[in-house]
């Protein structure tokens, strides 16, 4: 047999990876195939499934379709030492860094708020060493890491990263492909301890539907060891069974189902409500300092009893209806950061 060549290896630590045989054992022993009611409160879901030091990943993309009620609950329960996938993780990651919950990041797109500018809190903490960037990736690399995991594989090949420092700071490898004879990157699987995914609707067992683009949640839900679903609404299972082709996440992947209308606020929920740019601007302004950051969390996380109170505080039904109108292109957005 001809020897295959391993050409290069990233120097970054292999985080979130495990032997697919170990993941299979986890699935066998911990993921029930039984259809049982998994509805619970955000408080219960976080205290049950998210522990200090875990590797977490959040669904959606940037400020779009993010489970903010779970993010705030992580802050409230003062979970520490988390590692988070920076898979165009923006507001969610920034809030958890600002709160001191996330201490390590696998960076894809992180520490920025797209057009809104860089994240004051994340920049401060990364630059002063409080938060450690473990590895660098691209967006495609991170989602293919989840896809490899979803497929029960140790890696997926890809034609990216070669020749760059992004590769050097990753844990990918480059081989000489035995079919083409050309260099090919192998992207290691990533099996997060917990994925937190906000969806349009789910039944009590966790069968979930998402409207519009899936980003990488189709894969992430299978990659993670535990999946917390938050849903804009709980629907009867009959509705799932009426259109089974609309199921994006089947129940046996899911460990907790939390019903929370407007659960993505201040982020966008496609077709339902737009970004609350005023709130995001307030957050970005306050998190410029440590004091302001404390003020933000005191007001919006510690100062409210639950997400309903939070929704009242950020403007209540009037604000939410306005965000709905903007989302549905019936009203012009406002960009206070412009």
């Amino acid at each position: 047999m001809k020897p295959l060549e391993l050409l290069d290896g990233g120097e970054g630590p292999l985080v979130g990876w495990c032997d697919p045989d170990d993941f299979r054992d986890w699935v066998k022993n911990n993921k029930s195939r039984d259809m049982v009611d998994k509805t619970m409160s955000a408080e219960e879901a976080v205290s049950k499934f998210i522990k200090d030091g875990m590797y977490i990943a959040s669904g959606g993309f940037g400020h779009v379709r993010v489970s903010m009620n779970i993010i705030y609950e992580i802050v409230k329960q003062d979970i520490k030492g988390l590692t988070m996938a920076g898979k165009t993780s923006v507001h969610d990651l920034d809030v958890l860094i600002a709160a001191g919950s996330v201490e390590k990041v696998e960076a894809g797109y992180s520490f920025g708020h797209e057009l809104r500018g860089l994240s004051p809190a994340s920049r401060r903490k990364v630059e002063n060493g409080e938060v450690k960037v473990l590895t660098e990736w691209s967006n495609a690399a991170l989602q293919w890491r989840f896809k490899a995991a979803a497929m029960g594989l140790p890696f997926l090949p890809a034609r990216i990263l070669m020749g760059t420092d992004t590769f050097k700071k990753s844990s990918a490898k480059i081989i000489k492909d035995p079919f083409t004879g050309k260099p090919l990157t192998l992207i290691p699987a990533c099996f997060p301890d917990v994925a937190i995914i906000h969806v349009h609707r789910a039944d009590i067992y966790g069968n979930a539907q998402i409207d519009g683009i899936l980003v990488e949640d189709f894969e992430l839900a299978r990659a993670a060891k535990r999946v917390i679903i938050t849903a804009e609404e709980i629907i009867p299972t009959d509705k799932i069974r009426d259109e089974p082709w609309r199921t994006v996440i089947p129940y046996f992947l899911v460990d907790a189902v939390v019903e929370q209308p407007y659960g993505s606020h201040p982020c966008n929920m496609p077709l339902l409500y737009y970004f609350d740019e005023e709130h995001i601007a307030e957050y970005l302004a306050l998190t410029k300092t440590e004091e302001g950051t404390k003020e933000y969390f005191k007001k919006y996380v510690y100062g409210v009893n639950d997400f309903w109170e939070y929704l009242d505080l950020v403007g209540g039904i009037e604000k939410l209806e306005k965000l709905k109108k903007i989302e549905q292109v019936r009203e012009k957005p406002v960009y206070p950061w412009g």
Binding site: A158, F218, E219, G338
Partner: protein
């Protein structure tokens, strides 16, 4: 000279004129999206806009501010996933990509990760995002960025996204026939020498001179014997831009940087 239009508007208009009709383009928000929309409206009506989060060929009701928000698949021909669009790009279906950058080197490699040392950066930037993917997989990449001596550097603080690497892009395993195509700054447009793969002035914007290029570049940049000039934004172009971005949200922001 910047009375009627901003530098950003000039750059967007030049970018829009570079795109070809009946081709596909990966866009991020901000200048790239405005350039694509402007091109679609005036020059390349059949340009196919692709968003990395999964939206393909939408009918944009307004300019999205995130590449994942719902307007990116409003009236689209497909609302799919990142895996799907990245796979399309990997299979050769995406013709153009747009990239921004904090630093660029003579081979068109770019940095969007850190200024300073990676371990303890002076400025921590967002990282690759989709840039390494776009820069690796699209056929032709266009970089839109501000030019000065700290940004046009002989050696990047961090090589986030491949240009021509050291001229060995293909040997490194990146798809054959791909690479940076143009760099557009406030001063001019750059291309890459066919043999050396090093950056070369293609055209200056109105009002700029070769000395401006050299004064704002920290490496030896190839200058052709005959200098060409770009056309400044036309009234029609500026009107369309105003239509897309009436409040200057997308361009205003860029100007402030």
């Amino acid at each position: 000279m910047l009375l009627q239009y901003s530098e950003a508007e000039y750059m967007v208009c030049v970018a829009a004129r570079i795109l070809e009709d009946r081709k596909s383009v990966f866009v991020g928000t901000g200048m790239p999206l405005l350039a694509a929309c402007l091109a679609q409206k005036l020059y390349t009506p059949n340009l196919v806009i692709v968003f990395e989060a999964g939206g393909i060929a939408p009918i944009l009701p307004r300019i999205p501010i995130s590449v994942g928000e719902s307007t990116t698949f409003y009236g689209a021909i497909m609302a799919t996933s990142m895996d799907y669009v990245m796979s399309l790009a990997q299979a050769g279906y995406v013709d153009y990509g747009f990239l921004g950058a904090a630093q660029i080197d003579p081979y068109g490699n770019i940095n969007t990760t850190v200024i300073g040392d990676w371990e303890r950066p002076k400025v921590r930037l967002p990282g690759s995002g989709g840039a390494n993917d776009v820069g690796s997989l699209c056929w032709k990449n266009i970089v839109l960025m501000r030019q000065d001596k700290r940004r046009f550097v002989p050696k990047l603080d961090f090589l986030t996204t491949p240009g021509y690497l050291c001229g060995n892009r293909e040997e490194a395993g990146l798809p054959a026939g791909t690479g940076p195509y143009r760099v557009i700054t406030q001063i001019g447009v750059y291309e890459f020498d066919e043999n050396t793969k090093r950056m070369k002035l293609a055209a200056l914007h109105e009002g700029y001179k070769v000395e401006d290029v050299e004064a704002n570049t920290s490496f030896d940049i190839l200058i052709p014997d005959e200098i060409e000039y770009t056309e400044p934004p036309t009234d029609e172009e500026l009107e369309v831009l105003k239509e897309f971005d009436p409040d200057g949200i997308l361009l205003g922001k860029k100007n402030k940087k």
